[in-house]
Symmetry: C2
Subunit: 345 residues, 2 copies
Amino acid sequence: MEVVTIKDIAKMCGVATSTVSRAINEHSDISPETRARIMEAIEKTGFIPNNSARNLKRTEAKSIAVLVKGITNPLFSHMIRIIEEEIEAQKYTLVLRHVDSKEDEIDVALTLIKEKRLAGLIFMGGEFVHSAGKLEKITVPYIFSTISARPEEVSESTYSSIAVDDRKESKKMVSYLLDNGHRDIAIITNDTLDHSVGQLRMEGYLEAYREHGIAVNKRLIRILSDEYDQYSMMNGYQVTKELLRSKEPFTAIFCIADVLAIGACRALREAGLLIPKDVSVAGFDGIELGDFVSPRLTTIRQPAEQMAHDTVQCLFEVIGGLKEHRHKTYEGELLIKESTKQIAT
Amino acid sequence: MEVVTIKDIAKMCGVATSTVSRAINEHSDISPETRARIMEAIEKTGFIPNNSARNLKRTEAKSIAVLVKGITNPLFSHMIRIIEEEIEAQKYTLVLRHVDSKEDEIDVALTLIKEKRLAGLIFMGGEFVHSAGKLEKITVPYIFSTISARPEEVSESTYSSIAVDDRKESKKMVSYLLDNGHRDIAIITNDTLDHSVGQLRMEGYLEAYREHGIAVNKRLIRILSDEYDQYSMMNGYQVTKELLRSKEPFTAIFCIADVLAIGACRALREAGLLIPKDVSVAGFDGIELGDFVSPRLTTIRQPAEQMAHDTVQCLFEVIGGLKEHRHKTYEGELLIKESTKQIAT
DNA sequence: TTGTACGCGTTATCAT
DNA sequence: ATGATAACGCGTACAA
């Protein structure tokens, strides 16, 4: 018996397929004995229902897609692992899709929804501004995770979001550096053209300077390269090398992701600079790795586990019709470690 | 029109559904004009074929599962990304499944095969010894990637494998350390009870000692903790702390993965030891991170990109019936960086 | 070259 | 409590 189907089980037990189906899906209207007999046969034959057939029949397939832009960020890997577990626990299937920085995540989503009959969608990373027209085409519940979303023309009640206040947290870090005497703080961030968290964190940077009544040196604003993955040590490394070559003086570097900061550290070391003696380095995210480099990285910790958990929970609540769409903002934590220090003003 | 199906397209164009199907699947027996008309309608309506229906119809669904044991190893993340791209390029779907260290990957595979009608399977990480009985139940082509597999009772012609010679590479590294005057080399590895690469790398360690005619100090063989992810910085950190507490003298540590080595470095630093002045540290894998820590990590580089590429290619060749199962072994590269040094004997 | 009709494996809706 | 049957959306053998 090569492939066992529900029909085979039905024949073996002398019942109709519908009865077997009821047994599998734990319906109430079935006698315990029949159920037991069927389950035994299933056990014996190793029968496993064909997912495609189920999904075809069901109006909604039990699967959730996670679209990740910037999978090289360990923060995302970490969160995805938690998300995977929780989705699995709900007996749903996770469809993980990496979105290239050139691809439009909404287009990918639209394809996936029809192709796989998704029950819901999770967007991680990427942009927070999307055209209302496209967004409206998304027919299933979706949630932005780690993106303080604010699609301009779209009503807030059509989607959920889970994120820290990127502007505020970024400002927190830059203020800390300014308070510690730093005046020339370089920032390594995304191109402001893509409306990603980089833009928000940049705004926080500018705001901190403004509040302190200090002028920003625009030559210290450095944009990540397109040649490498956006969130990669190599990118932070290359941009910092470039910054060093420019001879523009600075006493601190704020990177919008920890991985970038780790790359920056290498560039500084190679230039013979000591951290934090010569240059302070600050990151963002609070990934585990930050505690395993030397010096340990000063950063803003995002409550990743909590956010991952809440992402799935929130999405399922909407899918189940239990709750409306929500927008949760989390508090980041300024972790002052060893890579930053106070300097004389 | 909420959900567009092949029927809608057929009606719109005044043709039969089968004609639309032929257009979609690029059959030859269809007139260019009809085809063009149909494609236009598809474009306009944004029709996307339902995957479940296709998979149900096809005897084999176009999907490949990757079962990963130890996803926390960046080597795997890196390889998976490449694998994802290549599978996508072949118009197949990737089913990524993380296997917990307590789970049996073959059991998970068996479920997935029936549930999703997989066309093929890729095993990453995990054990290389499996019961023949279970393995024989796998009805689709499968390949072990990064596992120099040798299921004892199973014929080599029933599966493929892609890996470095773990024993040899490990021996290479330990020999290098021995040649450089180290006599007391601690090794951090898996429990030998699970038949993973850790066991092979341990055998290489023992072999190197034997060839050098030096006795092994068993107290320097340290097993990873169950409390943390196997391939994690934290595990390397904790085990090394434990080793330091034991007061057993050693001049070098060889970790069977780079992430462990990075954890070990932190423990050594916290104990006030300098690397490589007081202790040499060596890793295995050759992940990018090794070049971004200070000192840069001496390691064995696995040709990850090549292996990832070949994994997919090899699997598709078997699926397509183009080639037989193969077992490819790759050469690792000893990268001598800054974390190891020669010592006086 | 195109259309007709059936079946893939499952679940849901009716009867019984 | 159980059975018969239609339907989910698509691909394909066969007929035209």
